[in-house]
Symmetry: C2
Subunit: 161 residues, 2 copies
């Protein structure tokens, strides 16, 4: 986080995070600054890639009802090179599934993923039928994700259409 | 997911997910439909809360360098009511910390959180000094989140300013 941002930059970013449709004149009015200043600051924030993207968050109706985090650990094979290939294969396969919202490498021999489903039985079935059946896994553990205390909207950001 | 969306709705949502600054006339041109149609569809998608929010994703410079998932499980106390209070307290406390990007309930006795830090030692230190010291925990397990195969941008969505 070696980035120079002043209070005005932060205030602009906070407003845009809340509602990216705000116009420059609306932001200028709220922050009691000239429109030219706001225009210049936003331009700079975009150029510096502090603002990476403008996007939409999908509402409840499109989000899976239930989420879970899964940790998958592979057995270390005798030929270590195979581990790398296997993890890559695993991540690629999971990424293609629409109910797998996020997939990341977790250390040398693991993968973490966020799963979505209609209910916890649906997720459990998916884990049993799609993940646990894979060969050479050492550990598969599912952690339910219930109500959010922080980060709500995560599923609305991740879910595809 | 009991929501009626046709192909045009989905195409509009995909374009807006990619770039929420697209104007109605730009979307109309790309999808070869009249502007009035696009205008009407977006209005409906907003009214139905299919589009929940327009937001910005912050770039690399503002995102933590390293992420990890942590699962925290509490001991079940003799007086069960205390468990609920303790979990609520734990979630609230974690939510207030800026390097805790997301916090959710995980089952009756657990919490999952996404942590950010400059590097894995930083995260490990945070876990040791802030979480493992808490009383009456049964289990604390950290899963590093390395490169994303799907869901990249998650930290840019979650991170505060």
């Amino acid at each position: 986080m070696m980035v120079q941002l002043d209070d005005l930059d932060r205030e602009i970013l906070r407003l845009l995070k809340e509602d990216a449709r705000l116009t420059i004149s609306e932001i200028a009015e709220r922050l009691k600054r000239p429109e030219s200043t706001i225009h210049f600051r936003i331009k700079k924030l975009q150029e510096r890639n502090i603002i990476d993207k403008y996007t939409i968050i999908l509402g409840e109706k499109l989000r899976p009802q239930t989420l879970a985090m899964v940790y998958i650990q592979a057995e270390t094979p005798i030929i270590e090179e195979f581990l790398e290939r296997y993890i890559q294969y695993l991540m690629k396969t999971l990424s293609m599934l629409p109910n797998v919202l996020a997939v990341a490498r977790s250390g040398k021999d693991g993968v973490v993923a966020i799963l979505g489903g209609e209910n916890s039985e649906h997720i459990e079935r998916f884990v049993n039928e799609t993940i646990r059946v894979l060969p050479t896994l050492k550990r598969v553990e599912v952690f339910p994700i219930d109500s959010f205390a922080k980060g709500d909207g995560l599923a609305g950001f991740l879910v595809g259409v």
